[in-house]
Structure formats: C-alpha cells, structure tokens
Symmetry: C2
Subunit: 131 residues, 2 copies
Amino acid sequence: VIVPLTGTEWIVDAAGCHPAALADIDHVRRCCDEIIAAMDLHVAAPPAWRRFDGPGGVTGLYLLSESHLTCHTFPEHGLLTLNVYCCKARTAPDWTALLESHFGAMDVHVRELIRGGLTDPSTSELSGVAT
Amino acid sequence: VIVPLTGTEWIVDAAGCHPAALADIDHVRRCCDEIIAAMDLHVAAPPAWRRFDGPGGVTGLYLLSESHLTCHTFPEHGLLTLNVYCCKARTAPDWTALLESHFGAMDVHVRELIRGGLTDPSTSELSGVAT
C-alpha cells in the first residue's frame, strides 16, 4: 500500500516546569493559544479544558482545521506534555524557548513524527536544554 | 532533570481503508468508543467531532481521565490516523485486527512512545499487514 504523507506531529515533553504554572488552567491555555496563533492554526470546535483533582493537572484539547493540539500537565512531576498534529505545512516554534518562557522548563524533548508515511516512518528527535 | 515516565502513547496510522467508512462519522465514532471501552478508559468531557467539507474527512477528540484519544480520517487517501495517550497502565488492543475489521485497513503502522522519559526516550515501532 502506497500512502501519502498526511502531516507532521510534534511530540513535546517539557520537564523542570514550575508546578504552580502547570496547575493554572488559564496560564496553560494562554500558552496553547499563543502556539495556535504563532503557527497560523485555526480552531474548528470549542476547545475542551479540564482541571483534575489531586495535584491539579490540567488537560486541553483543540480540534483544528489543521488536525489537533493537545496539552497535559503534571504539576507533581514538573512536566508538561504537548502534541501538535498538523496536516498542512507549518513551521514549528522554538519549543524550548517557548516552554522555558511560559513555565520555566529546564529540559525540553521534541520528537517530530511524519504521519501516514507507512513504508518509511520517520522520527527525528532532538533535545533542548534551556540556558 | 530526572523525569518520571507519565504514560504511553500509541500512534497508529492505518492505510488501505474503505473511503466510505472513513467519511462516516458514526462509523468512526463507534470504533473510537469500542477502543475506549476495550481499554477501560473514561471520558471526562463531551467528545468533539467534526466532519470536514471536500473529501469528507472526520476528526474526533476525547478528553479522558487517562489523557486523550484523537482520530482523523482522510478518505481521499484511504487513511486513518489515531493517537491514544494513556497516563495509566493499559494493554493496547490488536490495532491491526481492530482497524481491519472496522475499516478494511490493509496496512497498519504502530509506534509506541513513552511520554515524559526525557533522558532515554523510547520509541518502538511495529507494522502489521492484515492477512
């Protein structure tokens, strides 16, 4: 089966974040909204947001014309995990700089996955350590 | 920065699917609901669904207590792309069998990513060709 490529997904795990910022749903939302604006993405349904009990992690999901953005935070671990799946060509922001500025992230790991390219799946990895 | 693992994400790309099934939002929804039930996942907000104009691809997003499930279809390419991110231990279904039975998928590619394990990111890949 020959399959065309249908987009890129950035899988971003950011560690060493400030727990209070990760538990602040409005703060996390502002960061996601900034990514959507910076990448010229378009929200196609009301975003879903939820703050969970316990450590107060939050989840946000955006249905986009260009696929989706999801974000989870784990204040108890200082961790934020982000997915941005984009079925149209876009340039990613500097994830390390972005997550350092919003959350004080100290260690940002980015995987860039090609979706739909079944016969030659491509994953490239890079890590950025905030300076 | 030492970071605990915070879950597993299955990235599943299924090719050779029946276009009519991929454009049928109720059919795609039933498949996603079956995955959620089979993996003992719990929906924590109303799922977002949208059918797009043109080839009629659909998108579904579920905010789960255990993170998220997202699904996109591309009828023009016979392709379905699925993400299941699970921050609690779960056993994945047989993706190849599942997507063959629902959509006639002929080629299913699965990547299993560990989230949050920044210093030793682990991606395992396997492909299943439906028989």
